[in-house]
């Protein structure tokens, strides 16, 4: 098989492979990633094919022949018409108006402020800890009962959005953009310190910094509804239920 054809088929194959999860399982690989993956796969393939002059010549010879050989003027002109049309088509598909919203660089976990004001006092997020956390070892009984209370609070307030399984798929979730976040899995709240979660619950969407698009988030600010202790309890619950541990550095 000719090298150029091989290159073409390889890229096509990778493209199909990347599309499969979306077609078969309804879990599309994001198009932004497909583009990046394809780009690098193509680059590396070209690199491998051009490590020696001989193979580079083989790879490019059909293109050069197409461009230079006087006899192939027909082919050449056809391709010179088709290529720009193809580019135009892609451009059109990319910019044509549709119901998709604008894709923004939203960060899901923006940097928290250094301090927050809530419940009439100032919290330093750098040092703030969950006051109930220490009970886990000192008074396991009481700790369990707080977790349970946290569970009640969760199902009275949060589960509509964050879901009965805490997987971010509550009843309302499908109507919201951005989606309520899942607490399941080792890559969610276990990446965060409890002070961070406290801030997110207490200040909600409106308390987000500008880069995170506070206007977009539907996460309510709970400071007017839940008191401080209730917030800490529900935090205990969401960690406990999902089997996650809050992020810690020093110990």
């Amino acid at each position: 098989m000719h090298k150029l054809l091989k290159l073409f088929l390889l890229i096509l194959g990778i493209y199909v492979l990347l599309k499969l999860p979306g077609l078969l399982f309804g879990l599309p690989v994001p198009s932004s990633l497909i583009l990046l993956y394809l780009f690098f796969a193509a680059i590396v393939t070209i690199l491998v094919m051009t490590t020696s002059d001989a193979s580079a010549n083989e790879l490019f010879s059909p293109i050069i022949a197409l461009l230079e050989e006087p006899a192939r003027v027909r082919q050449r002109n056809t391709i010179f018409v088709i290529l720009p049309l193809f580019a135009a088509l892609i451009t059109y598909l990319a910019v044509r108006p549709d119901s998709e919203g604008v894709v923004g660089f939203r960060s899901v976990h923006p940097a928290p402020p250094a301090v927050i004001e809530a419940y009439g006092q100032t919290y330093d997020l750098g040092t703030l800890e969950n006051p109930l956390r220490s009970l886990e070892s000192s008074e396991p009984e009481r700790f369990r009962s707080y977790v349970k209370e946290g569970g009640d609070i969760y199902f009275q307030n949060c589960f509509f959005c964050h879901g009965a399984k805490l997987d971010g798929r509550g009843h309302y979730a499908h109507a919201l953009t951005p989606r309520p976040l899942t607490f399941q899995g080792s890559d969610t709240i276990s990446q965060l310190q409890e002070s961070y979660v406290f801030w997110r619950v207490v200040k909600g969407g409106p308390g987000l910094p500008k880069q995170a698009g506070p206007w977009a988030s539907s996460m309510p600010a709970w400071e007017g509804i839940l008191n401080e202790e209730e917030v800490w309890k529900v935090i205990l619950f969401i960690y406990d239920y999902t089997g996650n541990k809050p992020r810690q550095w020093s110990h």
Partner: protein
């Protein structure tokens, strides 16, 4: 084996090639001194350390200038100060003033000039040149030693040519340093005043070291030919080189202390008042990781710039002999660059972990917030560096007569590299369209999200490092044939080692990264790195044993590289430059609206964080200017080489 030019060409052309002399000690040093004096004039009075104040008061008192008119109070205060000053010459008063709270009027306005961009670009230019200029003498010295030990004159010649390239850059480094200082003093006088109340003593040391560095550099460079007697003078020359490196590295460490102090201040109280121990301020939380990261990265960067120089000369060479020379030079430089590149991800990891542990806010701003997107660009650029390096090695197999034996493996290496690379830059937080979000039911792709976390990245980068090393190994082998009977057994052992290492790395990454507590996630990266380093060292030992008495299977024919490979060298240099600029911006910007994090607020109109697009434009502009200057320098250094190409 290559061509042998003798050094006299370089020495003959010295007067022409070393145009740097017109820029440098004659201009730059006095310029810098002048600026320092200017600087001391401009800084506000409160910035002078208590020491100076005591000295001033005491001289006034002793000359009887304090008269009754000024009241007893003044005199009492003065004599008190004198008493405590004289109480112990070593135990002097050193506490500094608190950090000033600044207002708009503290920021001088120059119509039509943006202070931030001015300081930004000046600092960036200075840093690029300084990184290059600091790094080159390090490996020049090493090459010189190798040349002396092996008696292979190519090393000496290449070393000399390396330093010649850096000499013009040295003057530009001094000039940009002066510009940086000037722009800081003009636009941020209060900040400079405060910093000098903490670091005043180190600033003097800095000036002194700079002086030593300049002098040793010029002796080292201009004395190269004269001192090349192969005996005592050569040793003295090496010693001068060592001094040069020591002063250069010390300079960088001091500057790093200032910069890291601004991120993680130490040695001051809550109000920012200096507590007297300058070493506490120097040895702040981020100083050591920053020193390591910059030191290693500078070497890689220096190597990459010299590699670009060799590529430039290779592509413009007219004779086979000079192609051979520059091919060899490019190869040596790229080895330095790649060798130093391998540990950088780990040094960077340490620095990041320390930033997190110093301040959660800074850590999340760095990796999780808007700057997270720059880390994706960083990942892509680092991947590009690895790819370019591998490509260069693959092309290099063409130098060997026996190269074809190994070219078949290239595609397998490439497949592994691509896969690791894709993991390496897959972001946790992916750009999604609305329909993708609803199809996925959330912000994350259930399969791909695991690739976004650090354990996956660490695994990928370790595998990338190992396979880059394997490319190097195959390249080396392509020029040799072993004579020992057990060579194939040893090779099998090596293959087994690599296999075991890779399995171990994957296991560590997957198990500790995803099935245990968060604490282990960070920790698991250390055994991964150790595995990589161990397997590379073991393999190097085995290779050495196998090929100790190897015969050359045709050896390498230098100068037989396709031109494309040279562009890989250029790409490495450009990517490095851009990468340094972008990540340097991030490093500095995570302080957000602080001059000195948590102690001294930036209250200037430009205290906000610019958009990534804007930052990328500024950095890209800087990169273009820098590359233009570098090409100019290459051209200058090639002026004296006219006759060489005719050899």
């Amino acid at each position: 084996m290559g061509n042998r030019l003798d050094l006299s060409h370089h020495i003959n052309s010295r007067s022409r090639a070393g145009l740097g002399i017109f820029f440098c000690p004659g201009v730059a040093v006095p310029l810098l001194l002048l600026l320092s004096i200017l600087f001391l004039q401009v800084i506000p009075a409160h910035a002078f350390s208590a020491e100076t104040q005591v000295a001033q008061v005491s001289s006034t008192v002793e000359s009887g200038a304090v008269k009754a008119v000024e009241g007893v109070e003044v005199k009492d205060k003065a004599s008190e100060l004198i008493k405590s000053y004289k109480a112990g010459k070593s135990k002097r008063l050193k506490k500094g003033p608190p950090a000033p709270a600044l207002e708009a009027k503290d920021y001088p306005v120059v119509e039509g000039v943006s202070p931030r961009v001015t300081v930004w670009l000046a600092a960036q230019m200075h840093l690029w040149f300084a990184a290059f200029v600091l790094a080159v003498p390090i490996f020049v010295l090493i090459l010189e030693v190798i040349g002396m030990v092996t008696g292979d004159s190519r090393y000496d010649r290449t070393a000399y040519e390396f330093i010649r390239v850096s000499i013009t850059a040295y003057s530009i480094t001094a000039i940009t340093g002066g510009l940086l200082l000037l722009s800081l003093v003009v636009f941020y006088p209060a900040l400079m005043g405060y910093l000098s109340s903490v670091f005043g003593s180190t600033m003097l040391g800095y000036g002194l070291l700079f002086f030593i560095e300049s002098i040793t550099l010029y002796i080292y460079y201009y004395g190269w030919g004269i001192m090349n007697d192969g005996g005592g003078l050569k040793r003295l020359h090496l010693f001068v080189g060592l001094l040069l490196n020591m002063s250069g590295t010390a300079l960088m460490f001091i500057a790093n202390a200032w910069v890291t102090f601004m991120m993680s201040p130490a040695g001051v109280d809550k109000m920012g008042a200096f507590q007297g121990g300058v070493f506490a301020a120097i040895n702040n939380h981020l100083w050591s990781p920053m020193n390591l990261h910059r030191f290693v990265a500078n070497i890689a960067y220096g190597g990459s710039i010299v590699g670009a120089y060799a590529a430039y000369q290779y592509l413009s060479s007219k004779s086979q002999a000079s192609r051979a020379h520059y091919d060899w030079m490019g190869y040596t430089a790229s080895l330095i660059a790649i060798g130093a590149l391998l540990p950088i991800p780990f040094a960077g990891y340490w620095l990041t972990a320390e930033i997190y542990s110093y301040s959660q806010q800074m850590g999340i701003t760095l990796m999780g917030g808007v700057f997270g997107w720059l880390f994706i660009i960083q990942a892509v650029l680092i991947g590009a560096l690895f790819l370019a390096a591998n490509y260069y090695l693959w092309c290099g197999m063409g130098r060997a007569e026996g190269g074809n034996r190994y070219t078949g493996y290239i595609k397998y290496i490439a497949i592994v590299l691509v896969l690791s690379f894709l993991v390496w830059f897959t972001p946790h937080n992916i750009v999604l369209t609305a329909s993708e979000t609803s199809a996925l039911g959330g912000q994350y792709h259930p399969w791909l999200k695991a690739l976004g976390l650090m354990p996956a990245k660490n695994t990928a980068v370790n595998i990338m490092v190992i396979f880059t090393y394997i490319s190097f190994l195959l390249y080396r082998r392509s020029g040799k044939a072993s004579t020992v009977p057990w060579a194939s057994t040893a090779t099998a052992v090596e293959v087994g080692l690599f296999g075991a290492a890779i399995l171990n790395i994957i296991f560590l990454g997957v198990y500790y990264g995803y099935y245990t507590d968060n604490v282990y996630k960070v920790v698991s990266s250390i055994p991964q790195v150790m595995t990589t380093l161990t397997v590379i060292l073991l393999s190097l030992c085995i290779e050495w044993l196998i090929f100790r008495r190897a015969e050359r299977a045709g050896g390498f024919t230098w100068g037989r590289m396709p031109d494309r490979s040279q562009y890989a060298l250029v790409l490495i240099a450009v990517s490095f430059t851009w990468l340094m600029g972008l990540m340097g911006f991030v490093r500095s910007a995570i302080r957000q609206n602080w001059h000195v994090y948590s102690i001294m607020k930036d209250n200037s109109p430009e205290a906000y964080t610019p958009s990534i697009a804007y930052a990328a434009r500024v950095v890209s502009f800087g990169t273009i200017v820098f590359m233009a200057l570098i090409i100019f320098i290459f051209w200058l250094s090639s002026l004296g080489k006219g006759e060489e190409n005719k050899v």
